[in-house]
Point group: D2
Chain length 145, copies 4
């Protein structure tokens, strides 16, 4: 299995700040999700392709540790990789850096189960999608936000 990371570049929106003057804590979960989408595209598929094949991937657990502040207009790099892939679940790990600043400002992870949209129950990941998720990212994977 390849745990190679994908990095997604995101510009922090004004509406993502709060009156404390930095990014509100819930927005990091949107950024994690955007990075997961980029992680898929870097491997040649879209998250929508998974849904079209009848697999939903709801989050069952999320954790984030906020070490530093992220501000409006910061260009942040969200690094994401598959930390673990089980029969019916996948864990993504995240690290967020601010361009031009040292160190990781936020780190986190999320666990997702593979679920049937009809039964709303966990299902074993089909081998085709497993192959997608364990392949290496393509060398020239475009990284448009």
């Amino acid at each position: 299995m390849s745990a190679e990371a994908t990095v997604e570049l995101i510009r922090v929106r004004y509406g993502e700040t709060d009156q404390m003057g930095h990014a509100y804590y819930a927005n990091y979960l949107y950024w994690f999700e955007q990075a997961r989408g980029a992680w898929c595209r870097a491997r040649g598929f879209n998250y929508s392709d998974i849904e079209k094949l009848g697999i939903l991937m709801p989050v069952v657990e999320v954790h984030a540790r906020y070490r530093g502040e992220v501000h409006y207009d910061d260009a942040i790099e969200v690094k994401v990789w598959a930390g673990e892939i089980k029969r019916a679940a996948i864990k993504f790990d995240y690290e967020i850096r601010v361009q031009g600043r040292e160190g990781v400002v936020t780190e986190g992870y999320s666990w997702h189960v593979f679920m049937s949209p009809e039964t709303r129950k966990a299902i074993t990941l089909p081998s085709e999608i497993r192959e997608w998720m364990t392949r290496s990212p393509y060398p020239n994977s475009e990284n448009m936000a």
Copy 2:
């Protein structure tokens, strides 16, 4: 047709503010929507009931005029009424007040078309739902946020 208004009480969230120190302009559209939901419940149905009957009500136009600031923890009253009901569209009007303060801080409207989820095309509003939308609100309509 009854254009009687429903008033929904909302407490402004911290995450709805931005670094300017007041509520970010997009959040008013969430509040409008929450008030539309209350408007339905005051008339004895849920917006979900409409969807269950095969009618979606996507917004096709929205307008808001921001006259005053709304802050964190403000208790706001979102007044909503059906300004116009056409064969295949409905207009909602809104006025937002802050409890304990004079005057309207924001006013707006939104136009929604009645749409089939299958064809994604506009459809004539079934008379049953039209009756729901034109009835007066129930006297003791509960107003839980």
Copy 3:
């Protein structure tokens, strides 16, 4: 120290759902925050009062476990209590239930540090605010959303 809980009632917004048909995972963090605000009010102060006294309470860690689905228009009860209060940090615990349904659908916690807005550094919680946070909730604490 009193770890008595406060329960905040929230109606799930349409804009809080995603195309999977249930509430998007980031919104729970908004609900946690709204419940923290209610927790303060139940003890006779507003979160803003803390800020006015020169204390910010940024989140440094958050965790959520999603056990069941939450849908549009669900009336959810967000139970919050102070699980731990340290010299310069506080932990809130959360449990979310859906009215009319059995069991906890989501549980989580968040850690917040007490921070000076000027130095952006952790500070010891002033005893006045500590007293606010450790008192019991008022018997008739209003619970307006």
Copy 4:
């Protein structure tokens, strides 16, 4: 005055969809704002620079007309230009297209006043900032999301 447009490329997030299966109407206002930020950067300054000079630009009016649907993972182009600049106010116009699809899916405008953060009152735009806002975009303005 130059009304040359800037185009910002945005990838629609999963959390920006709702259970109707397309982007929720409030998110377009976030996209408008992100495009305004890009419009500033294309002219050699950041929106933050304006705030640092003591000018806030709160929205006083917004309008959007939704003509077509925008879906998860769509790559959208948000075109923004200054439709009008008055002594103490500026109007931005917007057009949103989906890459690979014909036509404008959404159009809108927003009016912003120039406001002092201290007095919270409208002020005349300083000539330095007026010059920034009326200059042509730089030829190689980077367009990172």
